[in-house]
Amino acid sequence: MITGSNTDAAQMKPPLRNIGVIGWLRENLFNNLFNSLLTLVTIYGLWLFVPPLIRWVFIDSLWFSSAEACRDIEGACWSIIPNNVSFIFFGFFPEGQQWRPLTAMLLLFALVFYSKNRKHWRQSLAIYWLLGLIVMGGLMHGGVFGMPVVETAQWSGFPLTLMLALFGMVGAYPLGVLLALGRRSKLIGIKSLCVVYIELIRGVPLISLLFMSSVMFPLFLPEGVSFDKVLRAQVAIILFAAAYIAEVVRGGLQAIPAGQYEAANALGLSYAKTMRLIVLPQALKIVIPPSVGILISAFKDTSLVVIIALYDVLKTTKVTLSNPQWMGYSSEAYLFLAVLYFVCCYAMTSYSRRLEKELHAGH
């Protein structure tokens, strides 16, 4: 029926060219001349680039072979990873004891997974984390329950990366909060100290602090006292991250309306109580998403300890690559690491975005 009434028009389906796959293509890829050209050029570029890449990665590659077998192939030699996986992940941790860092890492992932759910954000969570950190430290260091002691100099690989980032964050957070409070203080002496510290640290690259930790800290200590390289780097990372956390927390403090401070004053609460009971709980909640951002940066930045010769996961990979047997497969090894870092960081990024949305909706 072509000469339909109004009811027919309402029941008629939209034209085929506006819905389904074709409609989507017209809407999103070919909506005008410029976009159509752009799409075609991009598809051509992808056509040149992607098939050879897939060939290299999947078709011509070897996954679980010996180094010799890799010499004759055109594609990627992923075998470098399974053949060196224990060294890349655990570095110089003694052979028979590598279940310990593995357990510590699994424990960490379990804790992270448990903390993701906002229903679990209670006081008990802090206790779980404290217990977890103690157990992780015990597993790594040993000396209890018949586990032989492993010196921090032997801590290496992925657990070192995780620990530097995690303990860096745990150590830096209280310091950062204090610095932020100091910077907002009305007391000129304290305020200027905090401002100088924060701006000084934020103005220099992390690597200069790491140099400081490796060449200057030993000079600062009295004769006979020394503490090891890993711990010194950890201190440098804490000092560095604290300045950035301070700025994030300051943002949170500024977002708290003045009425909250005034109400607390009117109730006769002291400064410490005002901060602990009224201001900080609100401010810290606001800054959770940007804090995850700082955690991501800290996690990425731990790779810089390579430069002061600590054996984090990047350095153990480089050591593997300097083995004559596996020389020349850098692309494969680095791509593997890139995927490892990407998965960790991307999980944190998307979690932080989701959290931001959820917390924002609550207002």
Binding site: V215, L219, E223, I296
Partner: protein, 397 residues
């Protein structure tokens, strides 16, 4: 009530003990904290002096004038191992500036392109941009640098079998080598002609604005200005006899002679810095453009502006205010991140300072120099930033 208050303040000694008086307590707290800071500082300095004496390390910056004794790749000013540490550090600082400056320019261009692409209505383009941004942001820069550097060494052939994509351009594992025009007096004159063109362009803009305000006629001043710049340079070049002699790279013995070369270290560092920072810049540009309320665009289209004019006259001026502050901090990040050069062997300031520390043992001076140089960069950038913010701030009425 008021009487009693008067009494206490006027005659009687204060009833509140000093530790309950906020002003005095604050003063006391500050004194304690400052004394603590000074005390910690004193202990550190005393320890350091004792340690230095024990290890008989000289203090002070006297070493600056001693002979450095190491070579630096790609110096921007003439330098040899016989020169002083001071000159070596200067070369390092110039190398840092060179890679940062080049990196910032490429990052601004590439980051803006990716940011705009992210907002494209073309699904393919916007998703490619998204993938690029996510991948780059979530992989440590140092790993990316190692990757590009390894790629140069493992994927590119030796100079003997160098790739030759264009005439006079060679890519090998020793870097990128390309031909450059041989020096000719005409080049200086062309530069002057270009500068004159830019001055004329500015004048043209000024004249065009006046004309538009008086008569409403719009002259395409920018197109004319650019054409003027190019035309003037071309004329000077032709007048000088159109010199075309090139200094072409030629393969001799084990490596190329002549031409201009860019080392793999510099290239890897530049590529890594530009790609990594571009991802952050793209997000800033995207957020800036999205911050302009949609009503603004609709209003602009309703009064009949063309899409180009909407972008140029409505979106851009408003987005800039949002974009520039975080953009500056990204540029600063790029400069600070260029210190990772040391990991792939490009001689930037940190790398030269590190060599100096290792040779002279003067760790404190070396680290202090690094910090001072980067602080100088940061503080001058934030000074510029404050000036710019003041200049572009909305004038509230």
């Amino acid at each position: 009530m008021p009487r009693r208050q008067n009494d206490t303040t006027a005659a009687d000694p204060p009833l509140v003990p000093f530790w309950h008086d906020p002003a005095k307590r604050g003063m006391l707290l500050q004194i304690v904290v400052l004394l603590l800071a000074l005390g910690v500082g004193y202990v550190l300095v005393a320890n350091t002096q004792a340690n230095l004496q024990r290890q008989s390390i000289a203090t002070g910056f006297g070493f600056i004038q001693h002979e450095a004794g190491f070579e630096i790749g790609e110096p921007a000013i003439p330098y040899s191992a016989a020169d002083s540490y001071g000159r070596a550090l200067l070369v390092g600082a110039l190398n840092t500036l060179r890679v940062s400056f080049t990196g910032i320019i490429f990052t601004l261009i590439f980051g803006s392109v990716v940011g705009v692409a992210r907002l494209s209505r073309n699904w393919l383009i916007s998703h490619l941009a998204k993938v690029f941004i996510e991948v780059m942001q979530n992989i440590p820069l140092l790993l990316q640098l190692f990757f590009w550097y390894a790629l140069f060494y493992e994927a590119f052939p030796s100079p003997r079998e160098a790739l030759n994509p264009l005439r006079g351009v060679f890519v090998s594992n020793r870097g990128l080598i390309f031909g450059v025009p041989i020096e000719h007096p005409a080049h200086g004159w062309m530069l002057i002609a270009l500068l004159a063109g830019i001055v004329l362009w500015r004048l043209l803009v000024w004249w065009g604005r006046g004309l538009q305000e008086r008569t409403g006629t719009i002259v395409p001043v920018h197109r004319l200005g650019i054409a003027l710049c190019l035309l003037l340079s071309l004329l000077v070049w032709l007048a000088a006899g159109a010199p075309t002699a090139m200094n072409m790279p030629v393969f001799k013995g084990f490596n190329f002679q002549g031409g201009m070369s860019v080392s793999p270290e510099f290239s890897a560092l530049l590529i890594g810095l530009v790609l990594y920072t571009s991802a952050f810049v793209a997000e800033i540009v995207r957020a800036g453009i999205q911050s302009v309320a949609h009503g603004q665009v609709e209003a602009a289209m309703a009064i009949g502006l063309r899409p180009g004019q909407v972008l140029h006259l409505v979106i851009f001026p408003q987005a800039t205010r949002v974009i520039v502050p975080p953009l500056t901090s990204q540029m600063l990040n790029l400069t600070k991140n260029s210190s990772l050069a040391i990991a792939i062997g490009y001689s930037d300031f940190v790398s030269v300072a590190n060599t100096t520390i290792n040779q002279t043992g003067q760790a404190i001076e070396g680290v202090a120099l690094i910090m001072v140089v980067y602080l100088f960069f940061s503080l001058s950038t934030s000074a510029f930033m404050n000036w710019y913010n003041k200049k572009t701030a909305l004038v509230e009425r």
